[in-house]
Structures are given as C-alpha cells and as structure tokens.
C-alpha cells in the first residue's frame, strides 16, 4: 500500500512536473502513455537490477523523447534529466533532515512534496527567464544534449557509488556532491543562454541596420521621383500657357483630360508616411516589406497620421510581429487579380496603439488560417511558423490583442497594443 502510494507520488512528480515545465495540457491519452512508459521503466529496473544505470538512461531518453515529440524542443531531454536529479536531490535532502531530526516517516513524504513543489516552482521561473524566446542554434542544442548525457553519467556515479554503512553520512556527502554539480550545471546553462541571446540581439540589430540602408536608398529614389514630378508640372504649366496664348480652349480641354488623372504614386506617398515613424527598427522592417511588396507589383498604401515614438512592447518583438503580419498579408494577396496591401499605425489617445493590415485575397478565411498554420506543408519548409510565433508572443504579452477576419474580399489583421504599467513612464 505504502509502496504503491510512493510510486504514485514518484510518477506524479516526474511526469506532472514535465507537463508543467513544458506547458503542455495533460490529456488522458498523454497520461496513459506516461503510465505505460513508467511501467516499462519499472519492469527494466526490476529485471535488470544488476544494471541500474539502464533504467535511468531509459527514463531520461524515453521521457525526453516523448516530450520532445510534443514540444519539438530538444530542451525536453534536459528537463527530463534535470527533473530526475531534482527528485533524487530532494529525496536525499528530506531523508537527511528526517534522520537528523528523528521525525516520523509520514513527515518524510510531506517534506518531499513541499520541497519538490518549491524546487519545481524555482526551476520553472529559471526556465521561463532564460529559455524564453531564444531560438537555439544547432550547436547549442547539441551542447545541451551533451550536458544532459554528462549529467546522467555524473548522477550515476554519485548515486551508485558503494554505499557506506552510515546512511546519514552517505546521504549527506551525496547531497553535497549533487548540489555542487547542480549549481555548476545551472551556471553553465545560464551563461550559455546569455551568450546566445546576446548574439541574436546583435544579429537582429544588423538586420535592422540593413533594412534602414534599404530605406535610405528608397528615399533617394523618391527624391529623384519628386524632382521629376516637379519638372513635369513646370512643363504642364508651360503647355497650358501655350494653349491659352492661342485661345485654343478645345485643345486645352483635351490636354487637361489627359493629364488630370495623374496623382502622386501611392508607393511614394506611402514612403513619405514612414517619416512619422520614429522607431528605427520598425521603420526598417516596414520599408523593407514595402519594397518587397512593391517589387511583387502589389499596390501598397500606408497611413501613419501621427508621429510614433515609443513602443509598448520590446522593439525586437514589435519588429517580429509586424514582419510576420506583413508576410502573411503579402503571401495572401499575391495571387489576387488586384493585389493590394494597406497598413496603418495609429495611436488611440495615449494608451493604445493599433496596427491595421488589410490585403485583398481570393482565399476564404478557413484557407487563410490554414496558410499560416504551423508546419503547413504545401508551401515549402520555411513557411508557416508565423502563427506559431505570434501565439508565443500573445502568450508573453497579455496587452496585445489580435483579430483576424475576412471582410468581403479583404483579409484584415488588427492588433491592439495597450500601454502597460511597465511602459507608463515612456511618453508617446
């Protein structure tokens, strides 16, 4: 009875915490799979009791593998290994405390549960702080896998070193060793992730700079275009004067009809609107996407009626968000007979910003949704991560609201970003 309860608690600790750390909803099927895995591991441990490392290795690999399948992140292996260590660490620690203070056995279990919950909570905070939004390069992922493997080996060495007769002393030394190792592991991972994050930030900045260079190049084009228009107007006025001098009203009328419909090119008007945008990273990405749309002969139209000086979310995330939404719009409109793309950046009072993106499309809403679904395969490998990334962004920023819908033949993406307390001091 007690044994089965303990194994049940063990099961909960191992798998429940994995669900918790990986942010996965535990459904009945998933729990069943976990139970089967657990039973299999138990069977291995019983049958190969001469080789205790087999069950451990199996545990890390199977659990990690199962959660890797669900999360598609190699960190699942790391979590699986480090959670195992945490469990062992906590068990030793509470054993130590119970033995030292001569407490009742029932308190032992309670202590394990309390300590484990605390450790799990801390671990989760650590994970969310360090792993958030960092897309790991392959070599770093490999390093993490190697770290997990080394962890298992160290763990094996420490736990299955020949037991001393004095159980308390043994658990004390083991506890210290494990704790040291654990500290070392966390420090390494933390430093590693910091480095990766820095590198990615630098990369992003280079990209933003490149976008800005493109924007400057485009501005020069605009300048040239405006000069041309001015020149044209001078010519037009001269011609009108010519007609007037000869009192040729009929000729003037015909000439006027011919030149009247000339309006400023929407592309140039749009580029001019960008002047209002004082967030340079955003200016870069918008102008780059504008150019991309323009070269794909999509008619673009941009509205930024008031200067925009600050962002209510991290600018790196704002750039990502706008980039994805504009990619979506461009992708959805290229096949339309009259491809149109409209973008508006508006501030509503001082505490809200709206990003409105509209484009013509011939798809229905259900198909559009599919278009941006994760891993949607008909569009090649690189596409389709947009929606996934946006979902992660929304998860991290409760102050972002996203609506997407069809209005006749227009596909509309509306984003509202509210000012949060964090940005309350920054002026608009």
């Amino acid at each position: 009875m007690v044994f089965s309860m303990i194994s049940f608690i063990n099961f909960l600790m191992l798998f429940g915490s994995l669900f918790y750390i990986c942010n996965i909803r535990p459904t009945i099927q998933r729990l069943m799979v976990c139970l089967i895995l657990n039973a299999f591991l138990g069977w291995i441990a019983l049958n190969f009791s001469a080789l205790p490392w087999l069950a451990l290795l199996g545990s890390v690999l199977l659990n990690g593998g199962f959660f890797y399948r669900m999360t598609k992140k190699s960190t699942a292996f790391l979590h699986s290994a480090s959670l195992l260590i945490i469990v062992i660490l906590i068990e030793y620690m509470s054993l130590f405390v119970v033995e030292r203070l001569q407490l009742a056995a029932s308190l032992h279990i309670l202590l394990i549960i309390v300590l484990f919950t605390l450790a799990l909570w801390l671990y989760k905070i650590f994970v969310e702080k360090t792993f958030h939004q960092v897309t790991l390069p392959i070599k770093v992922e490999l390093l993490l896998v190697i770290l997990s493997t080394v962890t298992i080996i160290v763990f094996y060495l420490i736990v299955f070193l020949p037991m001393h007769s004095d159980i308390v002393a043994a658990s004390w030394s083991k506890l210290m060793m494990l704790a040291c190792y654990f500290l070392f592991l966390f420090l390494t991972i933390w430093l590693l992730l910091q480095a990766v994050q820095k590198e990615q930030l630098a990369q992003q900045q280079t990209l933003a700079q490149q976008d800005l260079y493109t924007y400057m190049g485009q501005l020069e084009n605009v300048n040239r275009e405006i000069q041309k228009v001015q020149h044209d107007y001078a010519n037009i006025l001269l011609s009108i004067r010519g007609f007037l001098d000869k009192d040729n009203l009929y000729g003037l009328k015909k000439y006027f009809e011919k030149i009247a419909p000339q309006e400023q090119q929407p592309y140039i008007a749009s580029l001019k609107q960008l002047e209002q945008l004082q967030l340079f990273e955003l200016k870069g990405i918008v102008s780059a996407k504008l150019l991309q749309a323009h070269t794909q002969s999509i008619a673009v139209h941009i509205e930024i009626p008031e200067p925009i000086q600050s962002s209510f979310i991290e600018s790196i995330d704002l750039v990502k968000l706008v980039g994805i939404l504009m990619d979506n719009a461009i992708e959805a409109t290229v096949h339309h007979q009259q491809p149109h793309l409209q973008l508006a950046l508006l501030s509503i009072q001082t505490n809200e910003q709206l990003i409105i993106i509209r484009n013509t499309t011939k798809e229905r809403y259900a198909d559009i949704e599919k278009l941006f679904q994760e891993n949607y395969s008909s569009k090649g490998d690189k596409r389709g991560f947009g929606l996934y990334n946006i979902k992660q962004l929304l998860h991290r920023y409760p102050n972002i609201t996203l609506n997407t819908y069809m209005e006749e033949e227009w596909f509309v993406q509306e984003v509202r970003i509210e000012r949060t307390r964090k940005h309350a001091s920054s002026d608009l």
Binding site: E263, L346, I356, R358, L394, N403, V412, R416
Partner: protein
C-alpha cells in the same frame, strides 16, 4: 434622418445638396438637410444645439481645423452619428478615419456624376444603419470594437466563444474570422437559445455544430475545432437540443 454638410468648395457643395435632395424627393422622404456650411467652426457650434444623425464632411477643408478634429468633436458629442467623408485623394488616410472616428464611408471627388452617385450610395447605407438603430437589430449581431471601429458579427456565423490563455480575455471563432476581447463568459448569458455553455470555458452555437459526441464528451464544430462537454452538462445540453428541435417543428 437629419443630414449636415460641411464643404468649403461651393461647386461641390451644390452638387452634394442636389444629389441628396433628389434622392430624398423620390426615394427617402425622411432625409432632411438641416444644416449646411462652408466653415467647420460653424458646424462645431451647431452640433451642440441641433440634433444631427448624419454628417457629410470634406476632409481637406482648407481651414485651420482638420477634418479629423471635426470628426473627433462630433464623435465626442454623438457616438452614434454617421460620418461620411469627401476627399480629393483616393484612399486618403482611409484606415485612420475608420479606426479613429469610425467613419462610415468615403467619397472621392471625381466627375460630378460619379460623385453624386457615390453620395446617394453612402446615404443609402447610412439610412439602412440609421433605421436599424431603432429596431432590435442589435440582438442579431455581436460587436467587437477595435479603436473606434465596431465590427458587427452575425450571431449565426459564430462557432464558439472560449476563455483565452491571456487573462480576462475571451476568444471568438466565427465563419469569417477569429477575435479576442476583454470579457467573461458569464457576461454572455444574454445570447439567444442557440448558444449553450457546454464547459466552464466554452460557449458553443448549437446550429454550427457538425457532430455531438456524448460518449467522448466533445462537440465537433463546422470549422473542425473540438469543444469539450462538461460531464454534468451532458443532460442539460441534450434537453436544450430537444427543446430546440420541438421549437423548430
């Protein structure tokens, strides 16, 4: 419906008045031009004293007061007013006006005939909305607001509401889109009989269900999403379905 016009160009002003009068004379006698000016300041003064339902504004107006400012002043005064803009540029800040002051329509100054035609069309749309305001049309729509723009979603198109992973928000899935907004499911109890709260975090539209699976306790919506059914709500759900069927028969 009482209409006010603010247009600084006398020629275009005359065109608009003519178009409206002709339309009112033959098709919609309820339309009445109550005020007409070339000065935005006059209009702003008038708003306070006269009841006006529909405004026709020239955006450029060649005056110190910007079209956007007038529209905002009108909005502050009368949140339900219909605002129609007239502009010389096609697409001139169309989205801005839609989302900042909920402009209803835009008329681009083109040839006189085209312009008069557009005025009538815009008026028709305004009139339809105006008459809907009086009736109980609001029960047929669910409204989601973004900026000042109100998006009307037909209730019959709605698949389901779900509590969002973002705190205090709800998600709405319908035939033509997906929205999120602040709210709680218990505030949606006023919705008609076709809506049923089948789970603590779901309200489904019973007519847009493709399949009820009481054994595995979920409903399959027409867009392919699955919503869970809470165990204790199976019987009430079956009862509701039965009563709906009887109503229908």
């Amino acid at each position: 419906m009482r209409v006010a016009i603010c247009e600084d160009d006398p020629f275009h002003q005359q065109l608009i008045i003519e178009a409206i009068q002709n339309y009112a004379l033959f098709q919609a006698p309820s339309i009445d031009i109550v005020f007409c000016t070339q000065q935005p300041a006059d209009l702003l003064a008038q708003i306070a004293t006269t009841a006006i339902d529909c405004y026709i504004l020239d955006i450029e107006l060649g005056n110190a007061i910007n079209g956007l400012d007038i529209a905002k002043a009108i909005r502050d005064q009368d949140p339900l007013a219909h605002i129609i803009f007239i502009t010389s540029y096609s697409n001139y800040l169309q989205l801005t006006f839609t989302y900042k002051v909920a402009a209803l329509d835009f008329i681009v100054k083109a040839t006189p005939a085209q312009m008069q035609h557009d005025v009538v069309e815009a008026l028709q749309a305004a009139l339809t909305k105006y008459t809907q305001l009086g009736t109980t049309a609001s029960t047929k729509w669910f409204q989601v607001k973004m900026g000042e723009k109100v998006k009307n979603i037909a209730l019959e198109d709605i698949y389901y509401f779900e509590t969002s992973s973002q705190p205090h928000k709800l998600e709405l899935y319908e035939r033509n889109g997906h929205y999120s907004f602040y709210g709680a499911l218990k505030d949606l109890a006023y919705l008609d009989d076709h809506f049923f709260r089948c789970h603590k975090s779901f309200i489904i539209h019973l007519k847009n269900v493709k399949e009820f699976n009481f054994k595995s306790r979920y409903v399959l919506m027409e867009n392919g999403s699955r919503c869970p059914i809470a165990f204790r709500l199976i019987v009430p759900l079956q009862k509701r379905l039965k009563s709906l069927k009887e109503d229908f028969a």
